[in-house]
Amino acid sequence: MSAAPEHAPTMARANLAERIAPWLPMLLVPLVMLTGLILIPSGSSWLTLTVSGLAMGMMIFIMASGMTLVFGLMDVINFGHGVFISVGAFVGVSVLLMLAGMTAAPSLFLNLLAMLLAIIAAALATGALGWAFERVIVKPVYGAHLKQILVTMGGLIVVEQLIIVLWGPEEIYILRPEALKGAVTFAGAALEKYRLVAVAVGLALFLTMRFVLRRTKIGLIVRAGVENGEMVEALGYRLRLVFIGVFVAGSALAGLGGVMWGLYQEVITAHMGQQMMILIFIVVIIGGLGSVEGCFIGALLVGLLQNYVAFLEPKAALISNIGLMVAILMWRPQGMIPVVKAK
């Protein structure tokens, strides 16, 4: 009989690289900002670009967060998520056009009230649509990825065409509310007011979402469900209901994001959701499927990088996102903060 191997535990402190590793994804955002600061010649244009990058990232995050949670929770991949963005934008913009009196008034309060009403209408409409989408289109194909992709893609096409039937094929132009037009000057940089509002809304939503997920019981169930659904069900929670709730909330968020994005671009088309889906996919993949934090970081990275690259080398802007995705997947094949284990 051989002797037991020698056991010599060491209590050495983990070295710097090891301690930093879990925080690396979070450090990426300031890192990208810093690189931008070095590469972009003037400080004021850097500030402008950074704010617009953050605004864009926040809006992408709002739209993408629902999708990543839906995937994490039920292993459902919704290629039709983009259509909620379009529907949200059309409903919201219609409401804003109806409230033209309020948006044209130079009062910030009335403007924000009109926007709030538009956002609520859009969120309600897309939430309801999300519920119907889940019932009719997604439910029959649980557990079959291939069919999910095909069927939700079909759903996207159908709803997109219905938008064209209802609102007509032309793009709709929309002006931002009066008080949100123009820019404020800060340290020599022109910062569009609307972008600042977008950053504020996005940040507020992210913090709320984090609070709900981290500090409330329903959040606990959702997080546990992402981690191990069967166990949660075995403990007596009806994950199906939770899932429908998350699906509806995710759709409503996408609709909200759609309104904000529509006002940001000042034009909406039926295909805008489908175009956004590409950025959303990139964000969801690099963030790690199922992770809200990863999605947030990914969205900020995409937004910042897109703005910096568009400034430095306009033609490369499109490739930059793909390049970012490739780089991150090479570094962490599961995405930055993987939650769901590869199946």
């Binding site: 991949i77 290629f79 289109i137 029959p140 194909v141 990825h145 291939l146 069919k147 992709i149 095909l150 069927v151 893609m153 079909g154 759903g155 996207l156 096409i157 159908v158 065409q161 219905l162 064209i164 039937v165 094929p169 489908q274 175009q275 889906m277 590409i278 996919f281 990139i282 969801v284 993949i285 033609k315 499109l318 490739i319 996102n321 793909i322 995705m325 490739v326 997947l329 090479m330 094949p333 599961q334 590869a342 199946k343």
Partner: protein, 356 residues
């Protein structure tokens, strides 16, 4: 002999056999059976799309992987031929260089995408292909100096394949069965033969041991890996082959049209069409591609007119004319698509085989 050509994969249904024979016969003699520019054009389109859909079925039906970049590969072949014909001397050399260049590039890009996505999980592939394909589509329309942008490229193919070239005047008076023997006829047969040969090659591939392993992976990738097959290598190889064949289909299409542009070779709508053809015809069987593509292209050519007529018939009723107008063609396709995935997952071929 015949079974050998079909790689031992018989249609396995009497009705299906008859339909396939009829389609083959019609396509083989299309210029003589249906003279007229438009119908020959439809026949050539059917040939190209049968090949394109069959190559897509190799990854979707046999490999169980969803890709949204198939039009991108198709476009690579088409633009390959277009660019080669624009920049090289007019002749068959340019066609060969363009087609093979496009096919190699397509396979290479499929390999790279597969490398990044397939090793993690198969659904990444769907998302990443969608992102890459749309980036490429935008890039093509922006790099107008090289690709002609939104206008596309018109170019000269070898003179022997153009209507101006006449042959056989001495032997049979320049006409066979009342059809002028010009280069257009030759071009049709180039497309037809190319599509047929590549289709038989695909049939050979899916019925080889390689194809069997792919099917095993589709049914249960975990078990296939456990038995000792490298799932990733097989899936990547399948996507590469499929991309190369799609590019060759694009090259044939470019030879036929003598024009490429984003609408004919790269648009997302073609991707939707391909998905629909695969699903309607039947996933996981090459014959499904034949049925799906033929049905779809014929319907697309003649049904849109019908929808327009229906739309004007219900004029005055609210919304209905809008729903039925020919521009809303995609709406009904989408509905049809969802319904066929639910209720008809094996497609026409599956139904015919079950009901023999």
């Amino acid at each position: 002999m015949l079974m050998k050509l079909l790689s031992g994969d018989a249609p396995r249904s009497r009705v299906l056999t008859v339909i396939l024979m009829a389609i083959l016969f019609c396509l083989a003699f299309a210029p003589f059976l249906f003279p007229g520019v438009r119908s020959v054009d439809t026949a050539a389109r059917i040939c190209v799309f049968i090949l394109l859909v069959a190559s897509y079925d190799l990854i979707l039906g046999y490999g169980g992987i969803v890709s949204f970049a198939h039009t991108m590969f198709f476009g690579m072949g088409a633009y390959g031929v277009a660019l080669a014909c624009t920049h090289m001397e007019r002749g068959f050399g340019a066609l060969i260089v363009g087609a093979s260049g496009g096919a190699i590039l397509a396979a290479l890009i499929a390999f790279l995408i597969g490398l990044f996505s397939l090793r993690v999980r198969a659904i990444f592939f769907a998302m990443i292909t969608l992102a890459v394909a749309s980036a490429v589509a935008v890039l093509v329309s922006q790099l107008s100096g090289l690709t002609g942008g939104e206008d596309g490229l018109t170019y000269k193919i070898p003179r022997e394949l153009t209507p101006a070239f006449r042959f056989g005047k001495e032997t049979f008076g320049g006409e066979i069965l009342g059809v002028k023997t010009n280069g257009r006829l030759l071009a049709y047969y180039v497309v037809f033969t190319g599509a047929l040969v590549l289709f038989l090659l695909l049939l050979r591939i899916v019925n080889s041991p390689f194809g069997r392993v792919l099917q095993a992976i589709r049914e249960n990738d975990f078990r296939a890996e456990a038995v000792g097959y490298r799932v990733i290598s097989y899936r990547t190889a399948a996507t590469c082959i499929s991309a190369a064949v799609a590019a060759l289909a694009g090259a044939l299409y470019a030879i036929w049209l003598r024009y490429v542009g984003p609408d004919t070779a790269l648009s997302f709508e073609i991707m939707v069409d391909i998905l629909l053809m695969v699903v309607i015809g039947g996933m996981g069987t090459m014959y499904g591609a034949v049925i799906g593509a033929t049905l779809f292209v014929v319907a697309q050519n003649y049904l849109q007119g019908l929808m327009g007529a229906a739309s004007s018939a219900v004029e005055g009723v609210p919304i209905l004319p809008d729903l039925l107008s020919a521009d809303r063609w995609l709406l009904w396709l989408g509905l049809l698509f969802i319904l066929s995935v639910y209720f008809f997952p094996t497609g026409v071929v599956g139904r015919l085989r079950d009901g023999k």
